[in-house]
Symmetry: C2
Subunit: 220 residues, 2 copies
DNA sequence: TAATTTTTTTAGATTTACCTAAAAATAAAA
DNA sequence: TTTTATTTTTAGGTAAATCTAAAAAAATTA
């Protein structure tokens, strides 16, 4: 069994692994809000326990064991987020912090019954896929809104930023999961994007457009 | 805010306070599965933080602040137990361990919405009262089954032992919350008790009879 | 009341997860 | 290819929660 802290490291390393093959000490330190020296200590411990492969000065990669542990935590995090939104009427911008705590509750039985209670959901309130009890999940194919061209359209199916501020902003703009959008223009001046959503024309900043994930349905 | 460990101490001290006015170091150590020396350390810390009044060699009592904190943890524990039984179909003997973890989740909003989701239950799966958000709850007036006399009857409304083994045993005997029972005889030999439940005559040991709580409805 | 037992506290260590400051390795720039 | 900058590690230390062994206080028994 892993400690609360070890679980947090594993989860962070897992997420960072999606960006770079081997994960660097400083990247972990930044995510986990700690100092690089502390990360080095913990990495050694995780390596001793067989959760990561570690080469000094080179960074870490998860072992099979570490990956499974990490995916299990992600599964729990996302299931709890669904619970909070679907059953307790939390908004999508309120759930992440609480799920950060709930994801560490140990009981196997709890999570399996929760999954069933929620109807075996396939994705969480932010569009992220929920691994099943064997750790399997659909590798979803998203494209960033910022990478679409004028005339392209699609459905909002995810976000790559989970901060409350960002999610509240999207909510206010009416840009929630499942909404159909189409790119109508890109401003030369600041790179902001004009989009059509529910017959309304709105303008969103480059920064916002970067973090909205679209599953496209054609037009190029 | 208190740590996970501090919360456990407060809760234990609260429960022990129902038995004795001032709570002894050894009693806490036994409950919390630790050594008296460790308890002394923690007690000093809780006293410094204003959660308990402490006189060396005499024991501790909760302050107003400590009592409120403890009741809040008890509230969370019992609400989670209701959730597990009512929503996730756990049996009453399976929930305690998981609730021991869930009771430490910090979010105020979570617990208020959970309470609402469960329909503001007044008691948990073991018949224990659930404090409301202001810490108020009905001081239930129970009598131990062992203290009833032949001919007395009542309703099972609680248990004073939460171990899985005990609860499973009651389940098997058909002695669950809400059942009507009546004492028909007390065996001289071993003090075991004959009771009538759902038109069946069964015999239970003194030990079992000690931990069943009855709200009586007459006959003496 | 004195002797003995029980309870509680102190003293000094240990483990986990941190930290700062300084050294070592690697990467980037000149 | 040096020099400089960045990244990472080591060394040594702190705070929280625990422990064992021994001392001190309180309660019990003789
Ligand atoms: Mn989240
Ligand atoms: Mn999410
Ligand atoms: Mn319980
Ligand atoms: Mn209970």
């Amino acid at each position: 069994m892993q400690s609360f802290t070890e679980e947090n490291y594993l989860k962070i390393i897992y997420h960072l692994s999606e960006l770079t093959n081997t994960v660097q000490t400083n990247a972990i330190a930044e995510q986990i809000q700690t100092k690089p020296a502390s990360v080095t200590d913990m990495i050694k411990k995780l390596a001793d326990k067989g959760f990561v492969d570690y080469i000094k000065y080179q960074g870490v990669t998860l072992t099979e064991r570490g990956r499974n542990a990490a995916i299990n935590i992600v599964r729990k995090h996302r299931l709890w987020e669904v619970f909070l939104v679907d059953k307790l009427n939390f908004r999508w911008d309120e759930v992440h912090e609480v799920a950060e705590e709930l994801e560490h509750i140990k009981s196997e039985a709890l999570i399996e019954r929760l999954d069933e209670f929620l109807g075996f959901p396939k994705s969480d309130p932010h569009g992220d896929p929920i691994p099943d009890k064997n750790g399997r999940f659909a590798k979803t194919q998203f494209i960033k809104l910022i990478d679409l061209k004028i005339g392209d359209g699609g459905t909002i199916t995810g976000v790559s930023q989970h901060s409350s501020a960002f999610l509240k902003h999207l909510e206010k703009l009416g840009l929630t999961l499942g909404k159909q959008i189409q790119i109508t223009d890109v401003t030369d001046f600041d790179g902001s994007v004009e989009i059509l959503v529910e017959n309304k024309q709105i303008n969103i900043s480059r920064e916002v457009a970067k973090h909205i994930l679209i599953s496209t349905n054609g037009k190029n």
